[in-house]
């Protein structure tokens, strides 16, 4: 009797959770309950970071500081050029009467050292609705697209990686502009491009960038690099395998992106990456996105 009720309840829950998205609230409440456990598990990791940060010698810090300063200088030099290019791009686009692509705003978050379900590629991050994170938000690391936010709690959220077998991302071959879809395979260093015809122009080494179609991921971020492209005339489609450029299993810091849709109010000051944007700015974008 009780078993029947429990089984029925679970089956109902699973169906609703799988097919519809009405359970986000319930999941958010439950995630509050289990968040202490996740923090506790992450504690040795973040603790060792803290200890190594506090105990580093002054000398090492000075060296690191100098190095970072140098890096910053280099990046700023590049940025100067970039802003000129951006202005030029805007002018050209105005000539073509197409909408201007505005730069995206980002927020840095950290992965909690927590293992989730081994059969899904997900990670837990330490930002949630309190910081304006919303479901479906794209997540990047320094070298490429990592995935998107799948569930949000108040202080934490889970991110589904692009290599999860149930994940697909619209991409474009950077060299030729060919559009296709990259599907996760379940192994952390392979993406599949299952729908390319045999005569498609694609080579080993081609960079795949996000195409921005579908409206979920911002366009022009690197996604993967083709490592195998075989066309067998006996098969309907070419077998193309790509390797994600993002370090899916190594990054600790990742970037949450609020991409500006063209119909949102134009941003006057576009100075590239705004770190630590106020949460209400994120919520604004959330409303326009949905």
């Amino acid at each position: 009797m009780r078993l029947g009720a429990a089984v029925l309840a679970s089956v109902l829950l699973m169906t609703v959770d799988h097919r519809l998205n009405h359970l986000e609230n319930l999941r958010a409440y439950l995630s509050v309950i289990v968040y202490p456990i996740q923090l506790l598990v992450d504690l040795p990791n973040s603790g060792s970071h803290w200890v190594s940060e506090t105990l580093t010698a002054r000398r090492v810090l000075i060296d690191e500081n100098a190095e970072l300063r140098q890096d910053l200088l280099l990046q700023q030099a590049r940025l100067q050029k970039l802003s000129a290019l951006e202005a030029e791009n805007a002018r050209l686009r105005e000539l073509l009467e197409s909408s201007l692509k505005v730069s995206d705003r980002v927020l840095i978050s950290e992965i909690l050292a927590v293992d989730l379900d081994p059969y899904r590629h997900q990670v837990m991050i330490n930002k949630g609705t309190n910081d304006g994170v919303f479901p479906g938000q794209p997540v990047l690391d320094a070298t490429g697209v990592m995935g998107q936010v799948s569930h949000v709690g108040p202080a934490s959220s889970s991110v589904i990686l692009i290599t999860d077998p149930s994940h697909a991302i619209p991409v474009q071959v950077n060299r030729t502009g060919l559009r296709t879809i990259a599907v996760g395979t379940g192994s952390s260093d392979r993406l599949e491009l299952p729908h390319l015809p045999n005569n498609a122009d694609i080579q080993v080494g081609d960079l795949l960038i996000s195409s921005g179609l579908g409206g979920r991921f911002p366009p022009d971020y690197p996604v993967a690099r083709v490592i195998q492209a075989r066309s067998d005339p006996g098969r309907p489609f070419a077998a193309v395998i790509a390797q994600p450029t993002a370090q899916l299993d190594r990054s600790r810091e990742l970037l949450l992106v609020w991409s500006e849709t063209p119909d949102s109010p134009p941003v006057r000051e576009t100075d590239g990456l705004d770190e630590d944007i106020p949460p209400e700015a994120g919520e604004d974008t959330e409303l326009t996105e949905q």
């Binding site: 429990a6 829950l13 456990i37 293992d115 989730l116 379940g186």
Partner: protein, 162 residues
């Protein structure tokens, strides 16, 4: 002397919390698929030892929390744990009398049933694992059963739970 309701609640829920910590503690990628289902082991112990306190209801709640913790479909662990609790409640009078080595095969069977349900649900929702390592997981869980049993029995005797 019998422990109060509250002590029992705290002892049992803290053991479940410890199991959940073990469930999400980071492991190398190769070992992740082999991680035993700690929460299921703890659940089996409490259902065997104090079936009047831990039953299908508590199993279901523990499963739901595990679902939220590991990011699976809500209800996936809950269903497995509820079925697990039901089977143990049917068997507990017999299994309790078994010596510890003899309990291992029983636990193996229970964990295999649980894993089967789990894989069915994963398969239906389109995330079936591509390798057979998943079937090794119940074996490892069963081999770890004596440790779980002895640790939890020590805890239970200390707090005089009955």
């Amino acid at each position: 002397m019998k422990a109060s309701r509250w002590t029992a609640f705290w002892v049992i829920s803290s053991s479940f919390c410890a199991a959940m910590v073990l469930t999400v503690i980071p492991l190398p990628d190769t070992l992740r698929a082999l991680r035993p289902e700690w929460v299921a082991l703890v659940l089996i112990y409490w259902c065997l030892a104090v079936p009047q306190r831990v039953g299908i209801g508590s199993a279901w709640v523990a499963g739901l929390l595990t679902d939220a913790l590991t990011g699976t479909l809500l209800g996936q662990h809950a269903l497995g744990f509820a079925v697990l609790a039901y089977v143990i409640l049917k068997l507990h009078r017999r299994v309790r009398l078994f010596p510890l080595p003899q309990q291992i095969p029983v636990v193996l069977v229970l964990l295999t049933i649980y894993q089967l349900l789990n894989l069915w649900i994963l398969g239906i929702s389109g995330a079936a694992p591509s390798h057979g390592l998943a079937w090794l997981q119940p074996v490892i869980g069963a081999l770890l059963w004596p440790i779980v049993f002895l640790a939890l029995r020590a805890g239970r005797r200390r707090f005089k739970l009955r």
